[in-house]
Amino acid sequence: MRKSVNYIRLEFPSRSSNEGFARMAAACFASQMDPTLNEVEDIKTAVSEAVTNAIVHAYPDSIGKVSLKAKICEGNILEISIKDAGKGIPNIDKARQPMFTTGGDGRSGMGFTIMESFMDALTIHSTPGRGTTVTMRKKIASRANGQR
């Protein structure tokens, strides 16, 4: 377990209007790590995917709580967790496959693929009926450690 240098925790209802806020909040928090523009865009994109999954899949017919925790760890590593208490993912391996979606025509099935390619590590914990936590890590290359 890496020691945390700084963190934020946010909670919001699963309304699509919060997607932009969530990715901006994560990017603003990460800005103290002095990331490059590309790194900021990577963080925004991955957070957008994870939050959208919670909104579309965890709570398909209702509004529930989504929480976002962003943490700066030693070694200038950003860790972001997006957690919901929704319906869960019955088959994680299947959900991670490119082009697989249960979200219908408006979705591409590329969410996890994009999170994987924009971040360094992605772990998914899910219990059907209890909820899902997606944790992503990215090393921010531009500084030696997370403290200014």
Binding site: S16, S17, E19, G20, R23, N38, E41, K44, T45, S48, E49, T52, I55, V56, P98, D105, G106, R107, S108, G109, M110, G111, T113, I114, S117, F118
Partner: protein
């Protein structure tokens, strides 16, 4: 998300601007379908020059546009894609299905 439309000689140009996430894509996909249904174009050009952010919801929009144009036996192109959107398109491998070019006019 704002979409501007131009048609000329059964070419349809749609200029998208703003952030294309799941929140915006729902309306954008509907608008795109209405525009294609009204114009019945031979060629669709999607100008992404004003798209400041895109996630996989943009991929869903492109796939839908491709399906609309395939149904009409027409073609489609995407132009002026900004770096962040291009990296999302590359990660999704959309370039194998859809022609993405850097310069373009109808």
């Amino acid at each position: 998300m704002d979409i501007k439309m131009q048609t000329a000689d059964r070419n349809l140009l749609l200029e998208l601007s703003g952030e294309l996430d799941h929140h915006a894509a729902k309306d954008a996909i509907r608008e795109l379908e209405l525009a294609v249904d009204a114009a019945l174009p031979r060629r669709l050009l999607l100008d992404f020059g004003g798209v400041t952010f895109m996630d996989s919801s943009g991929i869903a929009l492109l796939l839908r546009a491709k399906r609309c144009m395939d149904a009409l036996d027409g073609s489609m192109q995407v132009c002026h894609v900004q770096p962040q959107a291009k990296r999302v398109m590359d990660a999704a491998g959309i370039g194998r299905l859809i022609h993405i070019k850097q310069e373009g006019t109808v």
